[in-house]
Subunit: 269 residues, 2 copies
Amino acid sequence: MILTVTLNPAINLTYHVEALVPGATHRVSRADKRLGGKGINAAAVLTQLDLPAVTTGLLRDGPPSFTPIAGPPRRTVVVTDGTSATSFREPGPVVTAAEWAEFTVSFARLAEQAKVVVLAGSLPGGLPDHSYASLIGLARSAGCLTILDTSGAALTHGLTAEPDVVKPSATDQPRLAGRALGRTIVVASDGPNGLTAQGIRARPPHLSGNATGVGVACVAALARGLLLGTPWPALLRDAAALSAAASNAGSVDLALYRELLPQIEVEHL
Amino acid sequence: MILTVTLNPAINLTYHVEALVPGATHRVSRADKRLGGKGINAAAVLTQLDLPAVTTGLLRDGPPSFTPIAGPPRRTVVVTDGTSATSFREPGPVVTAAEWAEFTVSFARLAEQAKVVVLAGSLPGGLPDHSYASLIGLARSAGCLTILDTSGAALTHGLTAEPDVVKPSATDQPRLAGRALGRTIVVASDGPNGLTAQGIRARPPHLSGNATGVGVACVAALARGLLLGTPWPALLRDAAALSAAASNAGSVDLALYRELLPQIEVEHL
């Protein structure tokens, strides 16, 4: 079983407007609302792949697998006029030490049922930078393989626990290049040139998929590959195809994915 | 007692950002949240004037004086960089016939305790244009004076019930000019030139107050004047001073109000 962790979920609101004009009042013709966060979105993609994942994290009024916290979830408002998107990200809630302690107990229990754990997204306020390192340690003790997908200080400190796979953000990639990361395999994105890892490059024939969904689709493919024990060349091909087929933050175009899969160019660097 | 009605309350979120750039992702440094709507805001101003008002309306999870409805309240997001404000207004909930019937019963009961009723703001979806006319009829049966502050079709249809005072929006003012409105007294705003009603103009010495609060402060002053039976020249002077002292959507600068009051120029046109 794959377990995905979202410590800082967001309620994603999409506001459809005619045109965004700074200083003006806009009537929102439609407001779409969904719960998101990288771990939650990766689980949605895995469900599309018929590999339902268990999701956990910190969330007020969330499903039972989440640990409830007092602070309200952050909201992300994306204003779109059909062509471009302008987004506003609220600061998240501040998590208390007691809430975090309760979560780690729940996480350790869930990890015992899992084979692969995906730790994705930012850390909410109140949590120390090494929070992902603690969870990676617990997951490893439970016999799980781990994938870390975060950025900044949460990434730097998380890496000290040597997750099995890391997918750094584009911003963080350069500073990881050439660093010794112990057992950790780095999966780097090279935009339209695809993915590289383990001295292999997997390049899709087209431009990459939907910008907000590429990273999540990649992580979902990596989690499936680790669960199934797929060897790296095939795994990277799969991840490149699924990334390029991302249609949204938490979904992929399965027909496009199947079409792309044999077209991915895999080369040893 | 003054009763204010808000049929379409909004949760007002103010997002503080460094600078609004269309197409960019913005980290919101602070998100302020308050429940608003013209009637609710007018009641807040009346509370500042030591004349606490009862507020009612339609609202999920609202205070007991409101009739609960199933639909969630609309949100209004105002993005500000400290100098300019860009706002996004969600569509409101759709009110059912049963919810409206329940509200009218509750409203009729509350109106029996009131002397003045303020009906302010837009109508939510599901309510017919003549909804304010129905409430004005009920309020009059209960012996109340009524003030209507709305726009468009809700205003046109509301006027058929001849509220005692109407404060049309700037957009609607021209089409009411010169029309016979029965017993209704029209209070028109003339921007920096103040207010006119009953052949009187009350003009403040300064530019008008905070743009989002001017109308609400004016309505609060009119409600107080009707309750106290203040004669029109004095009432209009008071309304002009309180409007010019508006400091926010639901508050006034009381010191400024007291300073402005004797400086208002009242003339018979």
